[in-house]
Symmetry: C3
Subunit: 288 residues, 3 copies
């Protein structure tokens, strides 16, 4: 008779990593989490809902960040759309980079290392439109609370059936980023990609970041290819980077997947946000 | 088939605050919490029970204080009453200040800023009588564990129907406080108040603190007025303070309430425990 | 409709302790914990499972150690046995010291103070055999992750009905320990014991540690006697220690037990891991 549901994900892999020049065998946590959520029907189409999501390092048992750092949200929704209060991940990110990260859900060492994320997830007030014939818009403001400035997060998702489009914009002071995303499904093939333009997020000046991904499913098997390329920051030479990932997943059930991947990040000498890195991984992901 | 029930409350408001001379717009957490509790029927009227309650800042996702700082209790109850072990909030407080704080449940910026609370909630052993014809008594001791002294917490609640009375006493070394409370219900009106005498809790010497509150309910609406006045500490001139709150609540359901309030604290120049503060708030409280 | 079950234990006692020369009355936490676990049937005898277990001090509400420091495990099991990933307690310990600690489950002040435990519970990969006619084997390696060395944990359990045998081995660098355990049930009597040989775990050189325990059950009552003796470390004179515990438990239900015990640790003058200590305890343990 609880009004809350428990949910979560355990995702661990054994990886052979090469970080800079050093090789190592590690147990890698891939954004494991446990959460509690619920909704209450208030009548007249109105609903109240909450989500509390805790991230942890499944390899050591330690919390990662704040207790409910992944999500701490209270919302009210109805015919008018949804109002959201608290702490939650950027919708601009979900509409673009996360949307095309089909292998391992953008977690762990094969996560998108090049996407520019502006991290102002707390003290956030958002409005999401209802479904407008396939189109959904969301705009959020992070209150400044006498420290720094207001930050903004805007996202659009447009579902045209086989073709799905998205856009995201974030701004926090001088730092800002804008991205466009497309995902196209053709039978067992899915192709996606985004292009992002950011300013002063990880380096000085502006930068273009492009990513393409593809998935082919065959029964319980998934085959993935994912390639990203971020150019130089305009005011920092030799700051470009490339990442590619080859992955195979086998769905033991809807909730549980065994997987293997190889990922490699190559960074130019003055890159301020990533270094040379590669990993071969064998993993298990279990949703509950 | 769990023996534990999940419960909690998300309570967030958007507030325009004036703190000292500085105005600010903030997202305010109001004592959000999540907990786990259960009871086991042992037969013969005997029951074992536990409560674990975690407080957090819903605006940032961070834990507030110790993991189970709000409550960590194991108890055994039966015809003899109840024995409680662990950490839990003062029953003297529940019997008095909390009882009359009908708007927003004594949380957030409109919480009672003047009540003298003696915080020794850990390592506590309590005995609560059964219902003695409307009267319930509880006495608790916080073990000293070789640090400082024993602390005491005593409470009485007397339910006479429309009129409900309470009293609370706490002592920790020199610091002590005693309060008497009454609450009277007359149709849609509820009136309450307490008077407290404390010594050395927030300032040197003794002080009298008085609070009156009233609520009028009309359908799903609640109207609240709440006024408190704490005099000077006997050994500290200009240490008095006043607080008043006007509040409106609309119950979207039994579990979910939207509300607005204005609260104002005015403190004399040498007040050691509060400063000038005011806030206008719009909030949403959701129990689960 | 959650895929996770909540479970846990609250275990608190009021104790009169004498630590060195100092007497004190304390509320004692005895390894209280709350956890979440679940298994998913993947078909064909295959199962995925997880356990997340959080330890806390029930007397103060504070977390003890890492959030999921007691257990953070993802596993896959089937006819081949079980593969386990994450953080979890040594199986060598469960097969020996824990197995014979029948009073209060090896928690709190009456816990086995002399057993040599090698603490490398994180980043662990284990394989457990299926039941081989009463015999189960488990071997685990803790990855070094470029810090220190690999650590190993090996355990065997052999169930012959009334007689149950076990063995455990751990190694982390120079430190290592090996133990053999037997438990014999004869009607209402249960007798158990282990002998352990360790090197460099708590002191320099090697040491022999022996423990014997007995339980007699009569209806809801349990009577316990538990005696341990650890000799000198070979390179440290006067480092021996003795521990004995007398305990009585009354099972209010399968889940809830009231108990009393007296425990006493006597340590020689140069003992590096325990000191003189005694405690008389009255406690309540509630599983949920």
């Amino acid at each position: 008779q609880s009004n809350a549901t428990i949910y979560g994900r355990m995702n661990l892999s054994i990886e052979r990593q090469k970080d800079g020049g050093v090789s190592n065998t590690v147990m890698q946590n891939n954004a494991s989490r446990i959460g509690f959520k619920g909704t209450e029907d208030l009548g007249g189409g109105l609903k109240a809902g909450f989500v509390l999501e805790h991230g942890f390092n499944a390899d050591t048992g330690a919390a990662s960040g704040a207790m409910w750092g992944r999500q701490s949200e209270l919302n009210l929704s109805g015919g008018f759309g949804m109002v959201r209060l608290g702490r939650y991940t950027s919708e601009a990110y979900f509409a673009t980079a996360d949307y095309v990260s089909m292998h391992n859900h953008d977690t762990g060492t094969s996560a998108d290392a090049l996407y520019a994320y502006i991290d102002r997830d707390s003290n956030k007030l958002a409005y999401r439109t209802p479904d407008l014939g396939g189109l959904t818009l969301e705009a959020a403001v992070s209150l400044r609370e006498n420290v720094g400035n207001y930050a903004y997060d805007v996202a659009a998702n447009y579902d045209m059936g086989a073709l799905q489009l998205g856009a995201g914009y974030q701004k926090d002071g001088d730092a800002n980023q804008f991205a466009l995303r497309a995902l196209y499904t053709m039978g067992d093939f899915t192709f996606g990609g985004y292009v992002q333009r950011d300013e002063d997020v990880y380096g000085p000046g502006s930068r273009t970041n492009l990513r393409l991904s593809g998935m082919y499913t065959m029964g319980a098997s998934e085959f993935h290819l994912n390639v990203g390329r971020a150019g130089d920051y305009s005011d920092l030479d030799d700051s470009a980077a490339t990442q590619y990932t080859l992955a195979y997943g086998y769905n033991l059930s809807k909730r549980t997947k065994a997987y293997a991947f190889y990922t490699k990040v190559s960074a130019d000498s003055a890159n301020p946000y990533v270094g040379d890195f590669s990993s071969f991984a064998l993993g298990l992901r279990h949703n509950f």
